[in-house]
C-alpha cells in the first residue's frame, strides 16, 4: 500500500489519546476508567511486537494467500436468496419491510462513501 506509510510516528502507542482514537475508529465506547487499562495492555502487547522490528525482512513479499489459488468467478445467473421474512425477522429493528435506524445526528458520521 504505497501511501499507507505516512512516516514512523513518535507517539508511544500506550498514549491514552491513541486508545481513544482507535476506540472511536472501531466504534467501541470505552469508559474513562477503562482507558488506562487498555492503554497499558496495548503497550505491553505492542512492546512484545518490538522484536518484529529486529529481523531483516528485506526482499520478502507479504503473504496474501497462503496457497496459490485461482479466482472463482461465477456465471452471472440469478439464484434465489432469502424470503423477506427470513431476512428481516432476525433483526430487532424491523419496521414493515425495511429496517429502521436512528438518523445521523452528527454530520461527521456521514461517511465519505465511494458510491
Amino acid at each position: 500500500m504505497a501511501d499507507a506509510n505516512k512516516g514512523q510516528p513518535d507517539i508511544d502507542p500506550s498514549d491514552e489519546k491513541l486508545v481513544k482514537d482507535i476506540a472511536a475508529l472501531a466504534r467501541i465506547e470505552i469508559e474513562p476508567g477503562e482507558v488506562q487499562m487498555y492503554a497499558s495492555q496495548m503497550r505491553a502487547i505492542l512492546d512484545y511486537f518490538e522484536d518484529l522490528k529486529q529481523i531483516d525482512l528485506s526482499g520478502i513479499d507479504p503473504t496474501v494467500q497462503i496457497h496459490p489459488l485461482g479466482l472463482t468467478l461465477e456465471p452471472d445467473e440469478i439464484e434465489p436468496g432469502l424470503p423477506v421474512n427470513a431476512a428481516l425477522n432476525i433483526s430487532l429493528r424491523r419496521r414493515g419491510n425495511l429496517l429502521c435506524v436512528p438518523r445521523i445526528v452528527n454530520p461527521e458520521e456521514e461517511a465519505d462513501a465511494g458510491a
Partner: protein, 489 residues
C-alpha cells in the same frame, strides 16, 4: 454401564448399528446420562437439546450415512439453520441463522445428530474457554483446570461422554490445544480443505473447521465428511482428498520424522519435555529416522499471528452493529447505536483484539505491523517448505504446559498468548496438524502430541498418528465422573 456407549468411537458404533446390535436411541440415551452426570459441573454446552423431544423424534428421519444418529457437539460459531449460533458472545445473543454452514449441511446429510452448541471463547478468541460470555467450561479430567480453547466446550463434551465427536474451529490452535487438554484427537486441516461458508469469521486467512474425536480413525472419518471444495467459499481449495482410511494403517516405516527444536527453555513443563523425549524415541525406532528441525525463533510467528489475527478480526467483527441481527439499543443517535451496542456486546478479550487490529491496519502503522507480520508469514512458510525437504512430518508437544487452572491467565493476555507457541506456526503456514493423546502428567492431566505435515498431506499425519495410537493405549482412559471424585482419591 449404559453411559459407556457414548465413549465408543464412531466406527465402533457404526459397526454395532450395522450389525443390528444397537439403535441410535441407545447412543443418545447414553449421552443423555452423561449429560445429567457431568454438565452441571463442567458446562460444555451453551445450549443443548437433550430435553428436546424433537431431537429424539428426528432420529426416525435421519438420512442414512456413517453418522446415522450419532450425537455430536457443534461449536457455537458454525451456522446451523434454525439453531442459535451466538459464538458465545452477547452481541449475537438470540441470533438464529436462516441458513446452514457448508460443514453443517454435510454433517447432517451424513446422519449426524447435532446435540448441542458447544461453549467457546467468544468469537474464537482465547485459549481456555474462559472468555465465553455464558460462563467458562471446566476440564472433565480436573474440573479446577481449563479444557483449553477456544473449542473447549467441544472437547469437554466429548471427553465427558455427552457427545461421540465434536466440531471445533482452529485459527491459532483452537482445535488442537483443547483436544490435547482433554485427551482427544483434534485435526487442523490444511487451509482451504474445509469450506468456511457459514463459519462466523474470526481471521479469514487462518480459520478452519476441524474435528475433535476419540481416535484417529474417527478423526479421518469426520474430516472426510466435511472436507471438499465449496464454490461458495472462494478460498476453498479444489485439491482432491485421497481416501484417508485406505492408508490409515500403513504404518510409518517409510517416513522420516522431524522433531521440533524450540527456544522456550524452562517455559516448557518438565514432564512435557520428558514425554517429548519418549515420543522421539518411539518414532526413531518405528520410522526411517528422526532429525531435529529448527524453524528459527517461533516467537516471531507468535508476534506475527497476534497482529494478523486481530487485524482480520477487527475487520470481520465490524458488521456487528445491532442493525441486521443481534441485540440492539433504543437511541436517537446513530453514533451511540454503534458504540454502545458494541461496547456492551463484546467481552474484554474481543475488545482488546479489535483495538490492536484497528491499530495495526491504520495508516502510519500498517507497514510496520500488518505488512511486516505478513512477511513473517512468508518467511515461516518458506522455513516449513525447507524442513519438509528433509522430513515428512514434524512432531512436538501441542502445548508447553498441561491444562492450567481456571482464572490463572485471564488478566494477563501475554501469558495466555505464549501458551500458543506450538500451535500457531501451522496456522500461519497453512499446513495441517494433528494433536493426539500423548500421555499424562503425574497428576493425571492429558498431554498432547502434535504431528505436523505438508500442505494437503493429512493422509500422512493421520497414519503417523494411528501408528502411535496403536502402540500406546491412552485413548481408552476416561476422566472420573463427578460423583466418583467425591468419594475416591
Amino acid at each position: 454401564m449404559h453411559s459407556d456407549l457414548a465413549y465408543k468411537t464412531i466406527h465402533e458404533l457404526w459397526d454395532l448399528m450395522n450389525n443390528g446390535l444397537l439403535d441410535p436411541q441407545d447412543i443418545l440415551e447414553s449421552c443423555r446420562e452423561n449429560n445429567a452426570l457431568w454438565e452441571p459441573e463442567i458446562h460444555a454446552f451453551r445450549e443443548h437439546y437433550f430435553s428436546d423431544v424433537n431431537v429424539k423424534a428426528s432420529l426416525q428421519f435421519l438420512p442414512s450415512g456413517f453418522l446415522g444418529g450419532i450425537p455430536f457437539a457443534h461449536k457455537d460459531n458454525i451456522s446451523a439453520k434454525g439453531f442459535g449460533t451466538y459464538c458465545c458472545s452477547k452481541i449475537l445473543d438470540g441470533y438464529v441463522p436462516p441458513y446452514d454452514a457448508h460443514a453443517t449441511e454435510l454433517l447432517l446429510a451424513a446422519g449426524g445428530l447435532m446435540i448441542g452448541r458447544s461453549n467457546m471463547d467468544e468469537f474464537g478468541m482465547g485459549s481456555s474457554t474462559e472468555f465465553s460470555a455464558f460462563g467458562p467450561t471446566r476440564n472433565p479430567w480436573d474440573t479446577s483446570k481449563v479444557p483449553g480453547g477456544s473449542s473447549g466446550g467441544s472437547a469437554a463434551a466429548v471427553a465427558s461422554g455427552q457427545a461421540v465427536f465434536a466440531t471445533g474451529t482452529d485459527t491459532g490452535g483452537s482445535v488442537r490445544q483443547p483436544a490435547a487438554f482433554c485427551n482427544l484427537v483434534g485435526l487442523r486441516p490444511t487451509y482451504g480443505r474445509v469450506s468456511r461458508y457459514g463459519l462466523v469469521a474470526f481471521a479469514s486467512s487462518l480459520d478452519q473447521i476441524g474435528p475433535i474425536c476419540r481416535d484417529v480413525h474417527d478423526c479421518a472419518l469426520v474430516f472426510s465428511i466435511i472436507a471438499g471444495h465449496d464454490p461458495r467459499d472462494s478460498t476453498s481449495n479444489p485439491t482432491l482428498l485421497p481416501d484417508l482410511l485406505e492408508t490409515l494403517d500403513d504404518g510409518i516405516e517409510d517416513l522420516t520424522v522431524g522433531f521440533l527444536v524450540d527456544d522456550l527453555g524452562d517455559a516448557v513443563d518438565a514432564e512435557i519435555r520428558e514425554k517429548m523425549d519418549e515420543w522421539v524415541g518411539f518414532f526413531s525406532v518405528k520410522s526411517k529416522g528422526v532429525l531435529p528441525i529448527d524453524l528459527g525463533s517461533l516467537k516471531y510467528a507468535l508476534s506475527g499471528y497476534y497482529i494478523i489475527a486481530p487485524s482480520e478480526a477487527s475487520s470481520n467483527l465490524a458488521r456487528f452493529d445491532g442493525i441486521r441481527y443481534g441485540p440492539t439499543i433504543e437511541t436517537d443517535d446513530l453514533g451511540e447505536l454503534y458504540k454502545t451496542t458494541r461496547a456492551g456486546g463484546f467481552g474484554p478479550e474481543v475488545k482488546r483484539r479489535i483495538m490492536i487490529g484497528t491499530f495495526a491496519l491504520s495508516s502510519g502503522y500498517y507497514d510496520a505491523y500488518y505488512l511486516r507480520a505478513q512477511k513473517i508469514r512468508t518467511r515461516l512458510k518458506a522455513k516449513f517448505d525447507e524442513a519438509f525437504k528433509e522430513v515428512d512430518i514434524i512432531i512436538c508437544p501441542t502445548s508447553p504446559e498441561p491444562p492450567f487452572p481456571l482464572a490463572s491467565k485471564v488478566d494477563d493476555p501475554l501469558k495466555m498468548y505464549a501458551s500458543d507457541y506450538y500451535v500457531i506456526p501451522q496456522a500461519l503456514a497453512g499446513v495441517p496438524a494433528l494433536s493426539i493423546p500423548g500421555g499424562f502428567t503425574k497428576n493425571g492431566l492429558p498431554i498432547g502430541l502434535q504431528i505436523t505435515g505438508r500442505a494437503f498431506d493429512e493422509a500422512t499425519i493421520l497414519r503417523a498418528g494411528k501408528a502411535f495410537e496403536r502402540e500406546h493405549d491412552y485413548i481408552s482412559k476416561r476422566p472420573k465422573p463427578p460423583a466418583d471424585k467425591g468419594g475416591e482419591n
